[in-house]
Amino acid sequence: MVVNTIHWFRKGLRLHDNPSLKDSIQGSDTLRCIYILDPWFAGSSNVGINRWRFLLHCLEDLDASLRKLNSRLFVIRGQPTDVFPRLFKEWQINRLSYEYDSEPFGKERDAAIQKLANEAGVEVTVRISHTLYNLDKIIELNGNQPPLTYKRFQAVINRMDAVEMPAETITSEVLKNCVTPISEDHDEKFGVPSLEELGFETEGLTTAVWPGGETEALMRLERHLERKAWVANFERPRMNANSLLASPTGLSPYLRFGCLSCRLFYFKLTDLYRKVKKNHTPPLSLYGQLLWREFFYTTATNNPCFDKMDGNPICVQIPWDRNPEALAKWAEGRTGFPWIDAIMTQLRQEGWIHHLARHGVACFLTRGDLWISWEEGMKVFEELLLDADWSVNAGSWMWLSCSSFFQQFFHCYCPVGFGRRTDPNGDYIRRYLPILRGFPAKYIYDPWNAPDEVQKAAKCIIGVHYPKPMVNHAEASRINIERMKQIYQQLSCYRGLGMDASLLATVPANSNFGGNGTNPRAVCTVTNEGAGGSSKDPSVQVGMSQTERAQSVQKRRHEETPLESSSKSWKQSK
């Protein structure tokens, strides 16, 4: 019997570490690798031009790599539930493979396709390769609940079996006698479309700062590791003005689209560390970036409401303001705060911003200044940010808006001070907001405070050429922190209007909400809002790049173990 196979690319846009593809090739006579251009791209139709371009680059790269193996990529337009029955019949398919998608929308879609496949007598091969671990196992190990603090997550990870090795890359040897029937009009019927064909206006579009594709990803990985080895230091580098700019060793978009296998990255990091540090066991912080990603995938996988506040069991219900005007100013970089506007401009132009920049703008939109729902911010990031996929984007926004994961809300990023500390000279601002080029460093973060002469000299009058600040930050943040306190007080089942003295204690340490409101055990949270662990790549997720340094330590108040003598006092007693 002839075995005709379809491999369905969704994420996992690569030929290295692609176990579902590799396994389904075994014993196949023909292979067709397809990508379905689903109007519901990755679960939403809210996709900007940079993300489309990146995807198209990935598809072109795949096509080129497949060509070298005498195969091609088949790009098919439509919805999977319509496309597959047709293809099963036309191509006489008896085998289908794809990489496991842990997201609720993905699981639902795949269940429908499985059903169709069963009906058509098509064998389905699914393998996990978008995450390091089998997420269901993590959940099982945690008492059938996804861990809601990173600390707990790490504890569970420590008990998991080792990460599986990456699968062998697809080469002609692997393919052996498996062929791809390619028609004369393949390009016409199944070629990778261009941006114009998709309806985008490309005039004036600058070259992509982040070129997509597996080839680029693997090259970056090498560079990334080289840089680490050269520095022989796996510490997170301190943030400086340069960190704000796109890095040629940045990997986050490639991980998101699956051009780079997270497992390959994991093992390469491990190997390098062992080589440089002479066989010491790598600390968990080495994989910070990857584990954070894993954390959010795990929290999201069984929660179809993960990207909403309403109906989401892990999300605090916060009475956000509905304000489309204010939202638009934020999204379009017209807030009047150069730090915020420059970041949003970079995001729109290039598709990537540093994770601390994400913190700044996310805080500004939600709990810091505008008091607008994180769902709105999430949608804007979804459109513009290359590495924002559903789980990680939603999770990060909830994190940054203090809507979940037991985050302290007392500290708020100042839209003036924070930028000034990071880049005192203001070069970043001048680069993305050329209208403000003429301002000296002293005033570039708060140009509305500049005297008239300075503004005139800069040829930029605030209120005319550049907007006035849209809020009074001090006033807004003061009101908002009070609101957050109100909400969290209610959560701890604190009834009545009586006042709670402590600000820090209003946020519970874990999911044991309620009771008498006072948690007698100590909570020590060292939150790492710096770059993801020790990898140079500043971030994988939207704003959240907390490594195992986000330690939630439970220390009983009366268990006074002197710190010098016992490292246990820093570890969770759970």
Partner: protein, 417 residues
């Protein structure tokens, strides 16, 4: 529920479930039916006290559904005990994602239950309409004897955007009619001195809690009147401009109960604002009179406005700096705040806070919670700080950005120390 009770209820004529009219006389047929009926559970004959108890556990919506079951349950639904507490949520679709309390329900409450209401709060979104709707309801609570009233803005302070007179008259209705107000929360509202006088005239014996931060129309004299007359006042929240030596003395007078909680917001309206000072003797009087009271201070000042503060000893217990605060000021905090329990620093600047933190650890022996935002602390200093007060810390929240690795410790090392 014991089935045996059913018969007895009817006899006693407990007047409970109105819809359950059965006689005890039964024919043979009925007796057989009764045996069958004994197998069924007669929910409609549940005594009202029990119904009430059960209903108290149900959220309002479920209770409302239950009230549709039969007349008896409907009566139970309207029992006064179920209407003592209510939270009115007033939201407009254009300004909020959350649902509002249904207008029909509001009408019903005003019609049937305004006498029963005792613990009431209004949550309003950032629209003026919501604030006005809240005041409209307030104005109709003429027969209420409220113990608790909370006016809560959940987003922008919309009570400040409505006509002041409308607000004042609505609030006055409550003050005059309640006469036994115990807790009042009116932050971010246009309440003024005359209305406070009305409050005092009617509720001075009962007032225990008054939360009125950010009420710009009140003057120090206005709040002094409250302190002078309301000797049961235990918890007070206000802005610094209302604080005076006289106020603190009044709160410390013999007739006055021990104060439990005083919260003060120090907010700068304009850069370079000057703030008055409070004498150390006034704070001392407070401490003597109420040795255990919590003094919570929130500072929202520019760095150069801290001149008058922390020059003398001050009994502050919970200190929050919402904006960047200088090393100098933090140094003074270490010297002058021996009662400090919680310290939160939102931002500081680029110079490390090492010495200041150590001094605070040394001198603030009650310190049990600390939060550090955009500051800088060297790892060594941090380790030393924790060694000094780690055993009494119940909260330690610090962004990693804060820690600067130095020659003794790198960031990884910190964790194992």
């Amino acid at each position: 529920m014991k089935r045996g009770l059913q018969g007895n209820e009817q006899e006693d004529g407990g007047g409970t479930s109105g819809g359950c009219q059965k006689t005890l006389k039964r024919s043979r047929k009925q007796r057989r039916e009764k045996d069958l009926e004994d197998e069924e559970v007669r929910w409609e004959c549940l005594p009202q006290e029990i119904l009430l108890h059960v209903f108290q556990y149900l959220p309002l919506l479920d209770r409302a559904f239950a009230s549709q079951v039969c007349r008896g349950w409907n009566e139970a639904f309207h029992m006064p005990e179920l209407w003592r507490c209510f939270e009115f949520e007033l939201n407009q679709p254009a300004s909020s994602y959350l649902k509002a309390t249904h207008p029909d329900l509001i009408k019903q409450i005003i019609k049937r239950h305004s006498d029963h209401l005792q613990y009431v709060s209004f949550k309003v979104d950032s629209s003026r309409e919501s604030a006005e709707a809240a005041c409209d309801i307030l104005s109709q609570l003429v027969n209420c004897s409220l113990k608790t009233l909370g006016l809560i803005s959940t987003a922008r302070p919309s009570f400040m955007e409505m006509p002041k007179s409308h607000f004042i008259s609505a609030l006055t209705v409550v003050f005059v009619n309640s006469k036994s107000l115990s807790s009042l929360k009116i932050d971010d509202t246009p309440v003024d001195d005359p209305s406070l006088k009305v409050l005092v005239a009617n509720n001075s014996d009962t007032l225990k809690l008054l939360k009125m931060s950010s009420c710009p129309h009140v003057s120090p004299a206005g709040i002094l009147c409250v302190a002078d007359q309301c000797h049961g006042l235990r918890e007070l929240a206000l802005n610094y401009h209302l604080l005076s030596d006289e106020l603190l003395i009044a709160l410390s007078s013999e007739k006055h109960v021990h104060l439990e909680h005083l919260r003060i917001d120090v907010v700068s309206e304009n850069p370079g604002q000057q703030f008055h000072t409070i004498k150390k003797s006034s704070w001392d009087a407070m401490k003597r009179h109420s040795p255990k009271f919590n003094l919570v201070m929130y500072f929202y000042l520019y760095e150069d406005e801290f001149g008058p503060f922390f020059r003398d000893e001050i009994p502050v217990t919970h200190l929050y700096f919402g904006r960047s605060v200088s090393k100098d000021v933090l140094g003074r905090v270490g010297l002058n705040c021996p009662r400090l329990v919680e310290l939160v620093v939102c931002a500081n600047g680029l110079r490390p806070l090492d010495e200041e933190l150590i001094r605070i650890a040394q001198r603030c022996t009650q310190l049990s919670a600390i939060g550090l935002g955009e500051c800088e602390v060297s790892c060594s200093a941090f380790v030393e700080f924790v060694k000094m007060c780690g055993d009494r810390l119940t909260q330690l929240s610090i962004m990693e950005e804060v820690l600067v690795p130095d020659h003794r410790y790198g960031l990884d090392d910190i964790h194992w120390e």
